[in-house]
Amino acid sequence: MSTKTKTIISVLLIALLFGGVWLLEQTLPAGSIVLTVLKKGAIFSLIAVSLNLLNGFTGLFSLGHAGFMLVGAYTYAILTIPQESRAAVYQYYDGGIIDFSLPVPVALILAGVMAGVFAFLIGLPVLRLKSDYLAIASLGFAEIIRAIIQFDGFGPITNGSNVLRSFPVFHSVLFPFAVSGLCIAIICMLINSSYGRAFKAIRDDEIAAEAMGINLFMHKEMALVTSAFFAGIGGALLAMFQMVVQARAFTSAMTYEILLIVVIGGIGSVTGSIIASFLFIACSEWWLRFLDMQHYIGDFAVPLLRPGFRMVVFSVIIMFVVLFYRRGIMGNKEFSLDAIYNFITGKKRKPRKEA
C-alpha cells in the first residue's frame, strides 16, 4: 500500500470511529453502560499509554502514576471550580484562597504541566536509581504527594481531605475520545521520533546506549516528564468523569491496575494498551457484572456468586495472563493497516525490521 492510500484509510477509519461513537450516543439512553465503558475506556487508554511510554518504551519501571494523575486531577479541579461555587466547596476553609476560574482547555493543559513539573522534580533524585529501587521510590513519591495534598495546612488550596466538586464536566463521549486521541497521537509521534529511538535504546541496553552518545539522564527525565504530563491530563479527565475528586482514591492500587492493563495489552505496544484498557473497563464494569449477583437455575442457587466474586475471577484471569501469556495481547507489535492488508490479500509478509 502506498503512503497516500494509508493516510486516506486512516483518516476514514478515525472518522468512522467518531461517527460510530456519535451514533451510539444518539441512539442509546443517557445512562447506558456502553457509554460509561466508552468514556472510562478512553480515559484509561490515555493513562495506560502514558505508563507504557515509561515502562514499555524506556524501560523505567515506575509505580508513581497515581501520584501524577492525582496532581493533574487536583490542578484541573482547583482551577476550574466556578467562583460562585467556591464558598460551598471550600466550606471548611472560608471559600479557599483562589478567586478565579480558568476555561476548561487551559486548565487541562495546566493539569498536565503541573504533573510534569512534579515529575521533573521527582526525577532529579529518583532516576539515578536502578530498576527495583526506582519502582519503590516512585511509589513512595506518589504516597508523599497524596499526604501533602491531604495536609490540613494546604486546605485553602486543596480543600484538605474533603472532596472537590462543582467543576465543569463533560457529557458527550466524544470529548474524552477527542482529548485522549490527540494525546495518544502526540505520544506516538514522540515514540517514532529520534527521541523515541533513544528511549528504546535505553530500554534494550543502558550501557550500550550511553556508549552511543545518548544522554541517559536527559532522556529518562524527558520520558518521565512526558509520561507524567499525559497522566496528569488523564487524571483531569478522570476527575471530569467522576464529577468529584478526592485524594484518598489515588492509592498505589490504582497504579497497579494501570500497570496490569499495560501488561495485558503488551508491554511496548500502544495499540495493545488501548485495546486492553477498553477490555479491562468493559470486563470490570460490564461483562463480569453478572458474577456479583445471585443467580438461580430453577430452584438451584448457583454457588459462589455474590458481590466481590467478579473481582476474584478478574484477578485470576490477570494472573493467567501474567503467568502463561506474558507477551499480552499485542506483544510489542502495533496494529497496522499493512498487516491487515497483506492478510486479506494473502500476500507474504515482508520481514519487517522490528524496532
Binding site: 529501587y133 504516597e143 508523599i144 466481590g308 503467568l323 506474558r326
Partner: protein
C-alpha cells in the same frame, strides 16, 4: 499527664510498632536477597494471616488457633512462590515483579469477596492485651512483649543462617544464584525455606500487630508492607540485622511524628527516609556494595 511520661509511652509504642515491622521486613529482605524480587504480595500475606486468625479463633480455642494460623500462613506463602514466582524464574525481573503485584491484587480481591468487604474484629488474646502500669507509665503487655519476642526470633534466625547447613546454602544462593546451583545446592528448596521463614515471621507479626489494631480489612496489608520494605532497604537489603534496625528506626520516628501532631505525614515520612537513604547510601546501613558488570 506529665510530659515525660507521655514521651516514654510514645517511645514504647514506637518500639513495639518497630518490632512488628521488623518481623515483616525480614520476609522482604530474605526474599530480595535470594531472588532479587520485591515481594509485593508479602504485605497481603500478612493481611491474610490476620483473617486466618479471625476465622480460626471463631471456632477453636486459642492454643490451637495460633499454631493453625502460623501453619496456614506458611502454606499460603510457599504456594504463592510455587504458583506465581517459580514459573517465571528464567523470565526478566520485571515480569516476576508484575506477577507479585498480580498476586497482591488477587489476595486483596479474594479477601474482599470472602469477608464481604466489611472490617472484621480481631479476637482478643487474653493476657497480652491487658494493660500494665510501671511507675507513671501505662502500657499494655503486648508493647513490652513485642520487642522481646522480635529480638528472640531474630537471634534464632541469625543463628540459623550462620550456623546450619540450610543457612549456609541460603547465604550461598544469595551470593551467587547460578554458582550455588552448580555446586549442587537445591536452590528450589532454599527458596521455599526462605518463604517458610518469611511467612512464619509475618504471621507472628500479624498476631502482634492486630492485637493492638482492632479490625482486619482487606487492604490493611499494603501500608505496613511498604513500610517494612523501606525498613529493609534502609538497613541494607539482604541483611537481616539491618532490616530489624531499620524497622525500629521507622517505628520510633513514625510515633514521634504522630505525637507531635503531624499524623498526615507519618506515612510520608517513611518514603522521604527511603529516598534520602537511596540518594546518600543506596546499599543501606549494613548492605554490601554491589557493582554492575557489563
Amino acid at each position: 499527664m506529665d510530659n515525660l511520661t507521655y514521651y516514654i509511652q510514645q517511645l514504647l509504642a514506637g518500639i513495639s510498632v518497630g518490632g512488628q515491622y521488623a518481623l515483616i521486613a525480614i520476609g522482604y529482605t530474605m526474599v530480595y536477597g535470594i531472588l532479587r524480587l520485591i515481594n509485593f504480595a508479602h504485605g497481603d500475606i500478612f493481611m491474610m494471616a490476620g483473617f486466618f486468625m479471625v476465622y480460626a479463633s471463631a471456632s477453636l480455642p486459642l492454643y490451637m488457633s495460633i499454631p493453625l494460623v502460623l501453619l496456614l500462613t506458611v502454606i499460603l506463602g510457599v504456594s504463592v512462590e510455587k504458583i506465581a514466582y517459580k514459573p517465571l524464574r528464567q523470565a526478566p525481573r520485571m515480569s516476576i515483579m508484575i506477577s507479585a503485584i498480580g498476586v497482591s491484587y488477587l489476595l486483596q480481591n479474594f479477601a474482599t469477596y470472602y469477608t464481604g468487604g466489611l472490617p472484621r474484629p480481631y479476637p482478643v488474646i487474653p493476657f497480652i492485651s491487658e494493660t500494665i502500669v510501671i511507675g507513671s507509665v501505662t502500657t499494655s503487655w503486648i508493647t513490652l512483649l513485642t520487642p522481646v519476642l522480635t529480638l528472640a526470633l531474630v537471634i534464632g534466625l541469625v543463628f540459623l543462617i550462620k550456623h546450619t547447613k540450610i543457612g549456609m546454602a541460603m547465604r550461598a544462593v544469595s551470593h551467587d544464584f547460578e554458582t550455588a546451583q552448580l555446586m549442587g545446592i537445591k536452590t528450589n528448596n532454599v527458596i521455599s525455606m526462605t518463604f517458610v521463614i518469611g511467612s512464619f515471621l509475618a504471621a507472628v507479626g500479624s498476631i502482634l500487630f492486630f492485637t493492638k489494631y482492632p479490625t482486619v480489612t482487606p487492604i490493611i496489608g499494603a501500608m505496613p508492607g511498604l513500610k517494612a520494605f523501606v525498613a529493609a532497604v534502609f538497613g541494607g537489603i539482604g541483611s537481616v540485622p539491618g532490616a530489624v534496625v531499620g524497622a525500629f528506626v521507622i517505628g520510633i520516628c513514625e510515633n514521634i511524628i504522630k505525637s507531635l501532631g503531624y499524623t498526615t505525614f507519618s506515612d510520608a515520612f517513611t518514603f522521604v527516609l527511603l529516598i534520602l537513604v537511596l540518594l546518600v547510601r543506596p546499599s543501606g546501613l549494613f548492605g554490601e556494595k554491589s557493582t554492575d558488570k557489563v
